[in-house]
């Protein structure tokens, strides 16, 4: 099999349909191919993989051609993220969370996470294209932090609702039942989350999550801006409460327990129920 650089695969995502060399049918019905390269025999899928790999090696050498590289860039267009709008006014969550905090939290903090996330993604994109592995790995912590910040805060805004729009109203339906089963009662869930939130050192989040594999509700905490999924790949966040100081400082100073007690008045259980029903289906 010659490496023919003039016949680059214009559609990297399409499987190559190269003519396959001679094969021998095996007893169990599989095929065994003999390669020209080392003379060893390979199964069909491995042979195709080898062909793909060699082909992509060839194309990489010719990536300097502008045409090819723009085509590649288009096929991996970088998506930038933008600040989602709040479904309520900044002052709508008073007196549980002050309007000043909501405005700063949304317009400054969340926006900063998004800006830095976009920046890190762009740098990552460049590093991947150049094959600069050490930069790729170096950027991981910035992506986890800023990307996590964006993910977590996007969930947080949906977790809150003004009182007149159902904020604070206890969950009914399947989520309410699941809470009673897993924690005994809504009060004891709230107590548990408040205790874990207050005990959290430094900055982080306290979560009510659904473990999809074990099919049960869990209370978890994550540090800094780590999303819930860093605690377990099967965890789905239903509710997250931001216990970073910026989330409550202007109003509650260092009395985080007071903030935790009051935030339940504006928690949007409807959203949590929807997510629960969708994910536990």
């Amino acid at each position: 099999m010659k490496i023919d650089v003039n016949h680059r695969n214009p559609h990297p995502r399409v499987r190559l349909a190269l003519p396959l060399p001679k094969y021998k049918v095996l007893p169990h019905g599989g095929f065994m191919y003999k390669t020209h390269i080392s003379g060893c025999t390979l199964e069909k899928k491995n042979l195709l993989r080898l062909q793909m790999a060699l082909r992509s090696l060839a194309t990489r050498k010719t990536l300097t051609l502008a045409l090819n590289s723009t085509r590649l860039a288009q096929s991996r267009a970088l998506q930038t993220f933008s600040l989602p709008d709040l479904p309520y006014d900044y002052g709508a969550l008073e007196p549980a969370i002050s309007g000043e905090i909501m405005q700063l939290h949304h317009q400054k903090h969340h926006q900063t996470y998004i800006t830095n996330y976009n920046k890190a993604l762009e740098q990552l994109h460049d590093a991947i294209q150049k094959g600069d592995s050490s930069t790729v790995v170096k950027l991981q912590s910035a992506i986890k932090f800023n990307g996590g910040g964006h993910i977590n805060h996007s969930i947080f805004w949906k977790n809150l609702a003004p009182i007149r729009e159902g904020g604070g109203e206890p969950p009914h339906g399947s989520l309410g039942w699941a809470i009673d089963t897993n924690f005994g009662s809504l009060e004891s869930l709230i107590q548990k989350m408040n205790a874990e939130g207050a005990a959290l050192q430094g900055s982080g989040w306290v979560w009510l999550g659904l473990d999809k594999e074990l099919k049960k509700l869990v209370v978890e905490t994550t540090a800094n801006q780590d999303p819930l999924v860093t605690n377990g790949p099967n965890l789905v966040p239903l509710l997250g409460i931001d216990v970073w100081e910026h989330a409550y400082y202007l109003q509650y100073k260092n009395v985080r327990p007071d903030y935790l007690k009051n935030v339940w008045k504006v928690i949007n259980w409807k959203y949590a129920s929807e997510v629960y029903e969708k994910e536990s289906a």
């Binding site: 430094g202 800094n224 801006q225 910026h246 100073k253 260092n254």
Partner: protein
């Protein structure tokens, strides 16, 4: 909620030197056992309303300046909350925890921090208590009214030797402060083994003395430290600290003490 009037006079500066944390760098990390070098102070009630009957092991140290002396760079209100509420709560917390069990009785603040750090597995007495008390005591000392500017004499020479130039050091310090994820502290530290100054950033309450290094300066990057004055503008807070608040006098005193424990080589003598 202010302490006694302490203007930065000559006498005041000497007092300040005496008030600085007497960190004991000779003692390595000890296993938990009773020691004789304990301090036992009755809690100082500086205008506190609570009349508690508990015996307090540690008292709240006042900063070596009035609470409004750092205006307009750090407002009186910020200090009132940061020192008067946060720091005070840490001290109360520490006293409460020390009161629960005898095992940490008689430790100095340093030993307490090192022992409760527990080689990376901090005990509850560490986080919101011992380490935070230590860090905040050090923080008030790391600032002064009319601070900022540059160090001079030996400290400047050492900085230039270890960072290339003061500007480099400043850039590193600011960058460390701004790149810290979450809550933490930024330190200028004299490393005992490497015998050089480095900028170190730590998470939550971690303190370089647990690695047996000697802090020279620190900066609180927890949000509570700057939120009231600067909201989310960390960059402005850090540059204001470097320009107007950082106390190179305190840094020089800390450095002078540190040199008693770390041999930095022969001093450069002027040629007669």
């Amino acid at each position: 909620m202010g302490g006694g009037a302490r203007k930065p006079t000559e006498k005041g500066k000497k007092e300040m030197a005496c008030q600085l944390l007497l960190t004991d760098f000779t003692l390595p990390l000890k296993s938990l056992k009773l020691s004789h070098s304990g301090l036992r102070l009755k809690g100082r009630s500086i205008g506190l309303q609570k009349a508690s009957t508990t015996v307090a092991y540690y008292g709240l140290k006042t900063p070596p300046y009035n609470l409004d002396d750092l205006e307009p760079y750090m407002s009186k209100r910020a200090l009132e909350v940061h020192w008067g509420v946060h720091h005070r709560d840490f001290v109360d917390n520490l006293n409460k925890q020390l009161g629960k069990s005898d095992i940490l009785y008689g430790y100095t603040m340093d030993e307490l921090v090192k022992a409760t750090y527990n080689n990376g597995n901090p005990l509850p007495e560490f986080n919101n208590a011992a380490a935070e008390v230590w860090n905040h005591d050090f923080f008030w000392e790391s600032m002064q009214p009319g601070g900022g500017d540059m160090p001079n004499l030996g400290l400047l020479e050492q900085i230039e030797k270890d960072f290339g130039s003061f500007t480099n050091f400043r850039e590193m310090f600011v960058e460390a402060a701004l790149s810290l994820f979450g809550s933490g502290w930024v330190w200028l530290v004299l490393k005992r083994q490497e015998k050089r100054l480095v900028v170190v950033k730590t998470s939550n309450s971690i303190n370089p003395i647990v690695w047996d290094d000697i802090p020279i300066l620190n900066l609180d990057m927890w949000e509570h430290s700057y939120y009231l004055d600067y909201k989310n503008d960390k960059a402005r807070y850090v540059s204001t600290f470097m320009n107007h608040l950082v106390s190179w006098n305190a840094a020089m005193i800390h450095m002078a003490r540190a040199e008693a424990f770390v041999n930095l080589g022969e001093p450069k003598m002027p040629i007669a």
